[in-house]
Subunit: 136 residues, 4 copies
Amino acid sequence: MSRPVPFVHPVIVRYLEVDQQGVVFNMWYLAYLDDALTAFLSAGGLRYRDMLESGYDVQVVHTELDWHGPLGYGDPAEVQVGVAHIGRTSFKLRFDVLASGRRVLNASTVYVAMRTDGSGKCEIPPTLLCALGPVT
Amino acid sequence: MSRPVPFVHPVIVRYLEVDQQGVVFNMWYLAYLDDALTAFLSAGGLRYRDMLESGYDVQVVHTELDWHGPLGYGDPAEVQVGVAHIGRTSFKLRFDVLASGRRVLNASTVYVAMRTDGSGKCEIPPTLLCALGPVT
Amino acid sequence: MSRPVPFVHPVIVRYLEVDQQGVVFNMWYLAYLDDALTAFLSAGGLRYRDMLESGYDVQVVHTELDWHGPLGYGDPAEVQVGVAHIGRTSFKLRFDVLASGRRVLNASTVYVAMRTDGSGKCEIPPTLLCALGPVT
Amino acid sequence: MSRPVPFVHPVIVRYLEVDQQGVVFNMWYLAYLDDALTAFLSAGGLRYRDMLESGYDVQVVHTELDWHGPLGYGDPAEVQVGVAHIGRTSFKLRFDVLASGRRVLNASTVYVAMRTDGSGKCEIPPTLLCALGPVT
């Protein structure tokens, strides 16, 4: 896998994501993290769409977010993604949002592997394990 | 059907819908119209969820929106809904968003009746026809 | 203050908030919590808009969310709001999302009081303290 | 100006934009058009942020959208942008969303030039006129 460590995904702030105080509304950070997860797995060889089509999905069961500063419209920013923990049916990612080197947010999220047939959680499938790579 | 004419559905502006110019971003009006459609059909006896479960859905194929003024956070507002046209497989609704009597937006939207099994558009089913009521 | 304990705010799931797995996408829960905060303060006598106009705002600096089950389109749901902690410049709320008694999410969020003039965080103003009420 | 004709801006469908029918919910197309406007002006030499900072903004007063097909998660897509009309205080853009050559949506939007100081609409400022380029 040629994915760099740490993996970095750009954040493009949409005009509509900025509220009347001139900063990105908190909710949209979960969209940025979801975008970053998708890009992280894709760079690890697993397109999210292919995972869904092969009958697997991941579901967020826990997330913690700490904001250290705001993000404004047009601010160049990025998310760094790392693997904090890998279990049998779940894994934990670590996210850092930076804007020109300034720390904006750090977060960690626990995902559970699921089957898309409704049968619930399952062991992390090999393709997903492979795309996650080692804990970093 | 005891639905009043015109049918009126309240709009509660969410803080996150207001952009840094202090007005609701244009995109969210389509959410308001979708909320109003759902409430309109429900007041006509057809819950959207029940329509989906009975194998039917509606899809927007055309919409036109004219803005006459802004909507700010906390502004009390409402959508008036009317039926502009009913065809064989499609129908057209008319929407007026008002804030304390002030005209904010008027719009019209054409919906096509669809089967949820992927077989495409179909005649407007009787339950939906009934929930739409007469052209007003 | 006549606000009931616990304070309960209804959640109306919008059609657009449900993803292709048929459940509310995680991001929207932060919108529900923000709606609930606003309603909670309003029931405590402080309209969010009035707080902004008097020169104060609150900003989320930390949030933790645990999902226990999904929320689907049309599911009747509600958020219970409690006050977990009140400090000098910050306070912490506790949120529980329930759907027909079933536990969907619990969360806690730390807010910092801010001046809207850009001068940064400040002591919690008396009107906000009053609207928060006691720790419960 | 080295901007190609037609100007093309990529659309990256976010997972959260896809509803339970498996297609992008209609509202998000207005986000795509806003993203495309921003990119179009930027490629014409005017960053949206700079326009705001110089005291000007544009506001959508009319939009018409026609959907010809759906967009699913992971579908590669793009928006083509053209200038349909330029008036004294307003201009009209034309948008075509394509997915691998398949027509998804066509739309046109009328924008009015505004001052950000609240004094209302104004003549299109020279920097904006220049960034729009000729009617195509």
